[in-house]
């Protein structure tokens, strides 16, 4: 493709079969089902909308308090409160379909079969353009009792098994979302790739905890929560870079992306697309500014296509 300096750069990316008109989606759980933010900007300008984790049955989530602000970050223990698959299909999908924005449906199940059923039914209903399997939610376990590797994606064999089962249930692009609470992110990432995942999503939140000195009680009712926000960005960039060294499938990078430069950092580290998470809470239209900023960056540095910078950190 030839471009003249005045052409706008090409932002389109293809992530494991999902075409996105730009590399920016939203992080699951930080953007509702899109409608909440359509009051601030037209969400159809996004590369895709990633939904809050969907479960087969509605989930009430954890008791409050569920949020604690931390230095440059946020601890949450929502506990996957969500409307459940049926209500998602009936109430949330029509809006997103009317918007004609690609849907990455994030799913959570108590077993590989539940994930598979969710994927199958979402595909049947035409209610997703890609499936993101959340194998890494830190907030569905009782922290008072948990021990050892409790998240599916802390166990490479489990990642492989879950991925295979979900893979066999759907032809939609399948993304697997991993936890950063591992020794070496390359291992679960490779396990997902080898079992049929079309992309991996890095990173989910890091396990964290906060205690109120005045009451001497944990600040979260669930004791432990997941840490997100700019505080964790260096950790996320490192994991994306690590994984990009060994993966053939693309990566959706996330963790503390606040501005376009942060998104560019992830792209350079090796992410093909990025997700804006907690920053949407602070600035509901952050994703729009980031899309625009990536385009400006490419122009400023003389690139005609966003793919030209993916993984192009200069060592």
């Amino acid at each position: 493709m030839t471009t003249t300096p005045t052409d706008l750069p090409r932002l389109e990316v293809c992530v494991g079969g999902l075409r996105m008109k730009n590399p920016v989606t939203t992080a699951s759980g930080t953007f509702g089902y899109g409608q909440e933010y359509d009051r601030y900007f037209d969400v159809s300008c996004l590369g895709a909308v990633t939904t809050k984790s969907i479960t087969l049955q509605p989930r009430p989530g954890n008791k409050p308090p569920r949020l604690v602000e931390t230095p440059a970050g946020l601890l949450n223990a929502i506990g996957l409160q969500n409307v459940g698959l049926d209500a998602y299909l009936a109430e949330k999908v029509p809006f997103l379909r009317a918007k004609q924005v690609p849907i990455i449906a994030n799913i959570y199940g108590k077993s590989a079969d539940e994930y598979a059923e969710l994927a199958r039914r979402l595909e049947e209903a035409g209610a997703a353009d890609a499936i993101e399997a959340n194998l890494s939610c830190p907030n569905v376990h009782d922290a008072r009792r948990a021990r050892g590797a409790v998240l599916v994606s802390q166990d490479c064999d489990a990642v492989a098994q879950y991925t295979r089962v979900i893979r066999s249930a759907t032809r939609l692009p399948l993304f697997v979302k991993l936890t950063p609470n591992v020794v070496d992110i390359r291992e679960p990432a490779l396990a997902a790739q080898e079992s049929g995942a079309d992309a991996v999503c890095l990173i989910n939140t890091l396990l964290g905890m906060a205690i109120d000195p005045e009451t001497r009680r944990p600040k979260l009712s669930n004791v432990v929560g997941g840490l997100s926000g700019p505080a964790i960005r260096p950790i996320a960039v490192k994991m994306v870079w690590d994984a990009a060294q060994v993966l053939k499938i693309p990566i959706i990078g996330m963790g503390g992306i606040c501005r376009a430069e942060d998104a560019v950092e992830f792209l350079l580290a090796g992410a093909t697309a990025v997700a804006v998470g907690s920053m949407s809470f602070r600035q509901p239209d952050a994703a729009v500014a980031i899309i625009r900023g990536i385009s400006d960056y490419l122009v400023r540095h003389g690139f005609s296509d966003v793919c030209q910078i993916v993984g192009k950190v200069r060592l």
Binding site: G29, T30, F31, G32, E36, Y37, R39, Y40, K52, P58, P60, G61, K63, P64, P65, R66, L67, V68, E69, T70, P71, A72, G73, L74, N76, I78, Q81, V83, G84, A87, D212, T215, R217, G229, P230, C258, S278, S280, F281, R282, Q283, P284, D285
Partner: protein, 283 residues
């Protein structure tokens, strides 16, 4: 009566703005309490009493989240927020100078329902809860030429805010202080009890959790309507993060949790599961 309650609730306003507003003034009104007047024509025009906004207290990423503040007064093109310095965010807020700009997201949430046919409107505010009341009082006066009765509770005389304002508006005002330095020595609920709210009356309350629990119990017993304005730790203010929930008494649309930011912050007191509320959340 449940239907009635929901009928008179205002519909969710879908209009939301994300605007840089100019600080008109930002002055201390009591020890560690400030009032900030903001110029924000669109927000002021759209806001109703009891709703709130989210303020970006710093351009740096610390604090990371916006701070929720209810509209104390809504006088387009301006609106006021009254706040108490609690921590870092409100301390930063107190340092804004007239002419500076601050990013405001709002109006958010459901405000106070303005019901017709109410005999007495009784406003009960504890501590910084008084921030929610002036806009409501003005609205009641404007709509019904009603003269609300107001109960203001504070720790001590210096912390009693807006008393003169309510009197000038024509309200009947009673005060309570913990130390008896002004008005009744004791609790807001002592005074509310003396007012003997009845079935035709409507009580509006905002204050610490124990006060609101007591107000809810008292009004439930008397059959008066009661609306409370709740607080919770918030991230998005828009119903997206599911962080700000409080437990409801019954399932509503399959959910036991209601979101303070979207379903509230004003709730019919009968909706809330008061036993489940944690006193440590509010001060």
């Amino acid at each position: 009566m449940t239907e009635e309650v929901f009928v008179c609730s205002p519909s969710i306003r879908e209009q939301r703005f994300l605007l840089e507003c100019a600080v008109v003034s930002n002055d201390p009104v009591a020890p560690s309490h400030y009032r900030m007047r903001l110029h924000g024509p669109e927000i002021a025009a759209a806001a109703v009493c009891g709703q709130f906004c989210m303020l970006e207290v710093s351009k740096t990423l610390q604090p990371f989240l916006r701070r929720p503040m209810c509209f104390e007064r809504i006088h387009p093109p301006t609106f006021d927020v009254l706040y108490k310095v609690e921590g870092e965010g409100t301390r930063l807020l107190s340092q804004f100078l007239p002419g500076q700009r601050i990013s405001v997201q709002g109006p958010l949430g459901k405000g106070f329902p303005i019901c017709s046919g109410v005999r007495r409107h009784i406003l009960v505010a504890g501590g910084i809860g008084v921030a929610a009341m002036p806009a409501l009082a003005e609205e009641l006066v404007r709509r019904f030429a009603a003269v609300p009765e107001v109960v203001l509770a504070a720790r001590t005389r210096d912390d009693v805010i807006n008393e003169a304002f309510f009197r000038e508006l024509g309200c009947h005002v009673q005060c309570a202080t913990d130390d008896g330095s002004w008005g009744h020595r004791g609790l807001a609920t002592d005074l509310l009890e003396q007012l003997k709210p009845e079935a035709q009356d409507c009580v509006y309350a905002c204050g610490p959790m124990p006060m609101m629990r007591a107000v809810a119990a008292l009004t439930a017993a008397s059959g008066a309507m009661c609306f409370v304005s709740l607080e919770a730790q918030m991230a998005c203010g828009d119903g997206a993060c599911l962080g700000c929930v409080v437990q409801a008494k019954e399932e509503r649309e399959g959910e036991r949790m209601v979101r303070v930011c979207l379903d509230g912050p004003v709730f019919d007191a009968r909706v809330i599961d008061w036993e489940a509320q944690d006193d440590n959340d509010a001060d």
